[in-house]
Every structure is written in C-alpha cells, then in structure tokens.
C-alpha cells in the first residue's frame, strides 16, 4: 500500500467518525497500520488474533467509541464466529476493512482459496460489503459503510483489493 493510500484511508475513517481501530497487520496493510498508530485522533489497538479485535471493537462501541477493524481476509474468516455472536447477534456495528488476498492478480498460490471464500462467507453472513480498488472510491465507501453500520447496528465490510492495497 502506498503511503498516500494509507493516509487517505485514515483521513476517511476520521471524517466518518471512526475514533478506535483494532488491527492485525500484513505486508499489504503495513503502511496503514503504521499510519493508524501515529494518528493521535485514533485509539489504535494492535491485536494478536483477529477475533480478539472484533471483541475489543464491540466493547469499545458499548463504551461510546466508533470502532473499525483492519485485517486481511484470512483474519475475517477466522473471525466469523466472533462477528456472528458478538456483533450480529446483539446488534453491534463494527466497520471492517478487509484486505483481499487471493483475488485477480494474485501471485501467491496459497492465497487463492481464501480469496475465493471471502465474498461467499460475507454473503452467507448477510454482511453488506463494498469492494474498493480505486483511490477515489475510498472516501465515499468508508463514509457510506460506516453510516450503514451505525444506522443498521450491524457490522459492514469494505473489501480492499490488491489495486487499492498497492
């Protein structure tokens, strides 16, 4: 991810009201995670496992924060039970920014299976999501996805493809 893309995501999150982000890094998310850690307007919590981050975000919401979770799609799949039981079941909104490995343009053979499973699992969980690949789509998509999360009291997702991440 280019630094200007990371800066655009962080600025868009703040404009959308997000003030609390849990993250688990990956090579493609590195610049974003660094930028989140450096921003004084966001409480950034690096986690050891993605489902932990879902729980932390849900707790922060109950305490009045506007949380988001940054992770790769492998981490989202790992978090399916957490998202179901902690967010969807009681009705707690968490905006999820999901880096998409294994989509078109993927060079690493090992990511293809996870890539192919990501959208079907989001659909099976009835999570509304948008796919973002172009710089100019980042800001409106974050704003609108956060709006829906808050109004529907449900998690929403933005799937960042490799173009957006590079």
């Amino acid at each position: 991810m280019k630094r200007e893309v990371a800066a655009e995501i962080v600025d868009s999150l703040k404009e959308a009201g997000v003030d609390f982000v849990a993250s688990l890094t990956e090579a493609n998310l590195h610049d974003l995670v660094v930028a989140l850690g450096e921003d004084p307007a966001i409480h950034h919590v690096p986690v050891t496992r993605e489902e932990e981050g879902i729980g932390i975000c849900a707790g922060a919401y109950l305490g009045g924060k506007k949380p988001a979770m940054v992770m790769m799609n492998a981490g989202f799949l790992l978090s399916a039970n957490a998202v179901a039981t902690v967010c969807i079941h009681p009705g707690i909104p968490v905006l999820m920014l999901i880096g998409h490995s294994g989509g078109v343009g993927e060079e690493n053979a090992g990511h293809a299976t996870v890539g192919a499973l990501t959208e079907p699992v989001l659909q099976a969980m009835h999570i509304v999501y948008e796919k973002v690949g172009r710089f100019e789509d980042i800001r409106p998509t974050i704003r609108d996805s956060q709006m829906l999360a808050r109004s529907s009291r449900r998690p929403t997702a933005i799937v960042l493809n490799k173009q957006a991440l590079r």
Binding site: R49, K65, S151
Partner: protein, 205 residues
C-alpha cells in the same frame, strides 16, 4: 470454594462498576445477585477479556470487571498480551478456574493438566496477578483490585458447580439496549443513532 459464593461475597461492593460476564452459568448467577443495566452478558466463549478491554479503553474513568472462565480464556490467550500492552488501569480481570468445561458437561480443560493461567498472565506482562483458593483470599484480593488504580488479574481456583438461581430472562439485544442506554445516560453520550424524522424537514415549495 464455589464461584457463586465468590460472587455473593463481592456483590454488595458493587456500585456503578461495569461488568462483562462470560457465557455459561456465571451470567445467571451474577444477574441474580446484582441485577443492574451495567451488566453485559456475552453470548460467546472466549471474548470476555477482549470485550472488557474495549470497554475499559473507551471509558478509562469507569471501573470494568470481567468475570471470565478458564475454558474461555484458554480460547483467547493472546488477549492477555494485548491487555498487558494496552495496560488499562481500570480493568479487573477475574477468572473462575474450575478446570473443566462446566456448561458443556464437565470435560477437563488444560488447567486440569499442566497449564497455569496465572503464570501465563504474568508472562504476558501483567504486574498484578493473584491466585486465590479461599473465599477470604478472594474477597481481600478483589477489594484490593477494586480500590487500586491499576490493572489486576485474579485467578480464583473454584470447584465446579453452579449456584441455585433462576435463568436470567435477558435477551442479548435487550441486554445491549439496556446497557447502551445506561452508558448514554451515565456518561452523557449519544451512542445509538436516531433516524431523522421526515416531519422535521421543511416542506419543499
């Protein structure tokens, strides 16, 4: 020492503290002993410590008490490292360790074998870690944690067995709304967004 007796001993000490309970019998026991909108009962095994961390970070001036279990914490050991690094001074993490999956018919957990959750927690970076085996030790340890301005972990070694209490008649969505409304009121915050009323918009001419 039983978990219910521990909870019963400390319940009168609670005022406006925020509580997160693990899934299982503990939620019913606590709701019977301290019915209060500041109780949040999790319908998930594993994330009690993480929910409590998020809450403690969001409201650093409020005391947050987590009633966790050994089976739950063993699912989420990484959360101990995250909590230690975040170091919320307002969090008291209590684990009732009955060395079994009590609500799932009692098969042993790893703490029935070699695992020591207090040692793991120390290793994760917590400074204040206690293992208590009697009711007096538990009560004393809890009061110390409650009055302090620092992160505490209390491992309460308990016998298996639930208190004789009715099932808490609390739906998860209802629990969330009651909790959030309580936070909104006590913290003067707006958490739940309201839908705009069309009647409030000026009529187009």
């Amino acid at each position: 020492m039983k978990r219910y007796d521990c909870l019963k001993a400390i319940a009168p000490r609670f005022g406006e503290e925020l509580v997160v309970t693990n899934i299982g019998a503990v939620r019913h026991e606590w709701q019977a002993l301290r019915p209060h909108p500041a109780n949040y009962h999790l319908q998930n095994l594993g994330l009690t410590s993480s929910m409590a961390l998020g809450l403690a970070l969001a409201l650093p001036h409020r005391k947050v008490v987590a009633f966790d279990g050994d089976g739950s914490l063993l699912l989420n050991l990484g959360s101990l490292a995250t909590i230690a690094n975040q170091h919320p001074r307002n969090l008291v993490h209590i684990v009732f360790d009955n060395e079994c999956y009590e609500s799932s018919r009692g098969a042993p957990t790893a703490t029935a074998g070699q695992a020591d959750l207090a040692a793991i927690t120390r290793g994760a970076g917590f400074a204040n870690v206690m293992t208590v085996k009697t009711l007096a030790e538990f009560e004393e340890g809890f009061l110390r944690a409650l009055k302090s301005n620092d992160l505490y972990f209390i491992l309460a070694k308990v016998e298996a067995g639930a208190g004789d209490v009715p099932a808490a008649a609390l739906d998860s969505q209802e629990n969330k709304y009651l909790f959030v409304r309580y936070i909104e009121k006590s913290e003067n915050l707006k958490i739940l967004t309201a839908t705009l009323s069309r009647a409030s918009e000026p009529r187009a001419k």
